[in-house]
């Protein structure tokens, strides 16, 4: 046996733990995820659509706004033709629409879910931790917002502000984003509150209190990391849900507004022409939505499992 092999063996013997569980929780989670092929595929799909949303020019040279009525209703020509995904009834290029529609759709989803989680986690933690009147106010607010039907409220609010002047991608999604956030935070609040109630009386929380930790430290360092598990699992499904709801709002004519394109608008337009023989107008944007949603669902499930120390 050469000296080098011996050296390697000795090193392995000295650090038998390095490979499994020496690092942080996130490091461990990453190692677990790396070994699952469906996670890698889902990550690649999600990454692909993120790149599409960030750099649409890489994928199409057409302008989605530039529609030539002379080219109306061209079926998909495959890559190589002028309109790989075909054109819609007004002659707009489908590929450009799908590519440029990714940004408003994904941006809307991330803004809505991000804000909802932020509000929900904050309020849920406060309600569960302090109970008393804080909990009474927050819990009653949750119930009030839960009993208002989302579509009814969205219709009312969005038609109220329909005339407001907007500009840019952010401007065109701002109103639906605010309305969807307004009716999106309650679920997280409830989950987090229930988990905080369960976690806050555990011995390690008492131990931190005995050490003299402040309420903020106890919440941030001890209660939240152990109470937030269900929320990390909800986030990907929520992203999917927001894109879906955005499609519904667009279908009703109150979502992301034309001339901006979004997957929701494309789906809504495409479904009108579905029976008329132009199925591709619906299938391309719908396929993108389904792929994105599936990718986030798989990622979310895998992440939740990998971050749970009890499943190791």
């Amino acid at each position: 046996m050469s000296d080098q092999t011996v050296q390697v063996l000795i090193t392995e013997e000295q650090n038998p733990e390095e490979g499994r569980g020496g690092g942080s929780i996130w490091g461990d989670a990453f190692r677990t995820l790396r070994r699952r092929p469906e996670v890698i595929i889902a990550a690649l799909v999600a990454l692909f659509f993120l790149v599409v949303a960030l750099f649409p020019k890489l994928f199409t040279s057409q302008d989605p706004q530039h529609c030539d009525i002379a080219d109306s209703g061209i079926p998909p020509q495959g890559f190589g033709g002028a309109h790989p995904f075909g054109t819609d009834i007004t002659g707009c290029d489908m590929l450009a629409g799908v590519v440029y529609g990714a940004r408003p759709s994904l941006l809307l989803a991330f803004i809505v879910v991000g804000l909802s989680v932020l509000i929900g986690v904050t309020l849920g933690t406060l309600a569960g931790f302090y109970l008393g009147w804080v909990d009474t106010i927050i819990s009653r607010a949750v119930e009030v917002f839960l009993v208002i039907p989302l579509l009814l409220a969205a219709l009312l609010l969005l038609s109220l502000f329909h005339g407001a002047e907007t500009s840019g991608v952010l401007g065109s999604i701002l109103q639906p984003a605010l309305v969807l956030t307004l009716f999106g935070w309650m679920g997280y609040t409830r989950y987090v509150r229930a988990n905080v109630l369960e976690t806050k009386n555990l011995d390690y929380v008492v131990a931190a209190r005995v050490l003299g930790a402040s309420d903020l430290r106890i919440m941030v360092r001890h209660v939240l990391p152990n109470a937030i598990g269900t929320v990390t699992a909800l986030v990907p499904t929520a992203i999917a849900g927001v894109i879906g709801t955005e499609a519904v709002l667009a279908f009703l004519g109150i979502g992301v507004r034309p001339p901006a394109v979004s997957w929701g608008i494309l789906i809504s337009n495409g479904s009108e022409r579905f029976a008329a023989g132009s199925q591709y107008l619906l299938l391309f944007p719908l396929g993108c939505l389904v792929l994105t949603v599936l990718a986030f669902v798989i990622l979310g499930d895998a992440l939740r499992d990998a971050l749970d120390p009890k499943l190791k």
Partner: protein
């Protein structure tokens, strides 16, 4: 046991009371009763000493521990730490006090945050009290603490789930020691552990007491463990102290029928002795602390009461009337420092223990 001077008293508890309100109602909560978890307990803990606290489940031991570390606020009574009353203190002052008293938990599986590494768990004390260790020396201090409790300092980056129950308990001890406390409240620190591991943890606690001069309030179910580690023993029943004294006084010159019953339940390793001492079996459950019995709290289950009542020709209830009407105070027994709360304390030892 010689009485130490006043300066030696680290912790003094005077007539401590904790009632939990029982509330009913959905919107308007009204108080319909009180659970008397701790109802007038007095204790004295001296530097470097161990006070064993024993009693059945529901006797208020753990509530007492929570009161002492400041997690719960007492209803009334005083807690004096080194002569300073801390029961009415404000938050900031209590934070400083908390460095004096620390808590060891019963269950090593719930007492460590599963998402923090050992280094973070033990080092958290330094983040909360920045003056406990200078910033650059914190990792070194954590390693020293791990070494002190018999863990490998290189396991700093591991997570609690990678340790056994005994090792986890050592991590809990290291966390408590980080703030250099003078008093450790051990709330049944070994009852969740394997018997062979129990011995190791007890020995570690004794070693730490010798090295650091710690005082322990040792709460336990296991009387043999208490007898092994404690200098002073207090027996609690339904939120009150039944008997207190040195370990020899309480274990061998028992003056309270409840303590006597507890002692007789200790398994004897010698089979010949086992035949001569029949255990006293207490009947029924511990009464509800929301509605404690009148007079002596133990009279509903007392094995001595029928004997005394028979001798004195009571009113036929099987309990002397004084027991069911007058609450006995802790009274001085023959030996100094030995207190028992029983109207017929003198009869406890004279009566045959194996009486049917």
């Amino acid at each position: 046991m010689p009485d130490g001077s006043e300066g030696d008293v680290l912790l003094q508890v005077d007539d401590l009371v904790k009632y939990y309100p029982v509330r009913r109602g959905v919107v308007f909560k009204r108080t319909v009763g009180q659970v008397r978890a701790v109802d007038g307990v007095s204790l004295t803990l001296r530097r470097g000493q161990t006070l064993g606290l024993v009693g059945e489940s529901g006797s208020g031991k753990s509530t007492l521990a929570k009161l002492l570390v400041g997690v719960e606020a007492p209803t009334s009574g005083r807690i004096l730490v080194e002569g300073v009353d801390v029961s009415g203190m404000k938050r900031a002052e209590r934070r400083r006090l908390r460095r004096t008293i620390q808590l060891i938990f019963q269950d090593p599986y719930t007492s460590l945050n599963p998402r923090m590494s050992v280094g973070e768990i033990v080092g958290e004390a330094f983040a909360i009290h920045p003056d406990a260790a200078p910033k650059g020396a914190r990792t070194k201090a954590v390693r020293e603490l791990l070494d002190l409790v018999g863990l490998n300092p290189d396991h700093l980056n591991r997570y609690p789930h990678q340790f056994s129950g005994g090792q986890r308990q050592r991590i809990g001890i290291a966390r408590a020691l980080a703030v250099k406390p003078r008093i450790l409240i051990c709330d049944e620190p070994v009852s969740a552990l394997d018997v062979s591991i129990q011995g190791q943890v007890i020995n570690l606690l004794e070693k730490l007491q010798d090295e650091l001069g710690l005082a322990y309030l040792f709460i336990a179910h296991d009387l043999s463990v208490v007898r092994h580690i404690a200098d002073q023993v207090a027996v609690m029943y339904l939120g009150r102290t039944a008997e207190t004294g040195t370990d020899v006084q309480v274990f061998e010159q028992t003056r309270h029928p409840y303590s006597r019953a507890l002692m007789s339940a200790v398994p004897l390793p010698d089979p010949t002795l086992r035949d001569t001492r029949r255990p006293i079996v207490l009947e029924g459950e511990v009464p509800s602390p929301a509605a404690p019995p009148s007079g002596c709290r133990f009279h509903t289950r007392c094995w001595l009461a029928p004997i005394v009542a028979g001798r004195e020709g009571g009113d036929g209830t099987g309990v002397p009337s004084v027991c069911s009407t007058v609450q006995p105070e802790l009274e001085q027994q023959e030996a100094s420092g030995h207190l028992a709360a029983c109207h017929f304390a003198a009869d406890v030892t004279s009566e045959a223990v194996g009486h049917d």
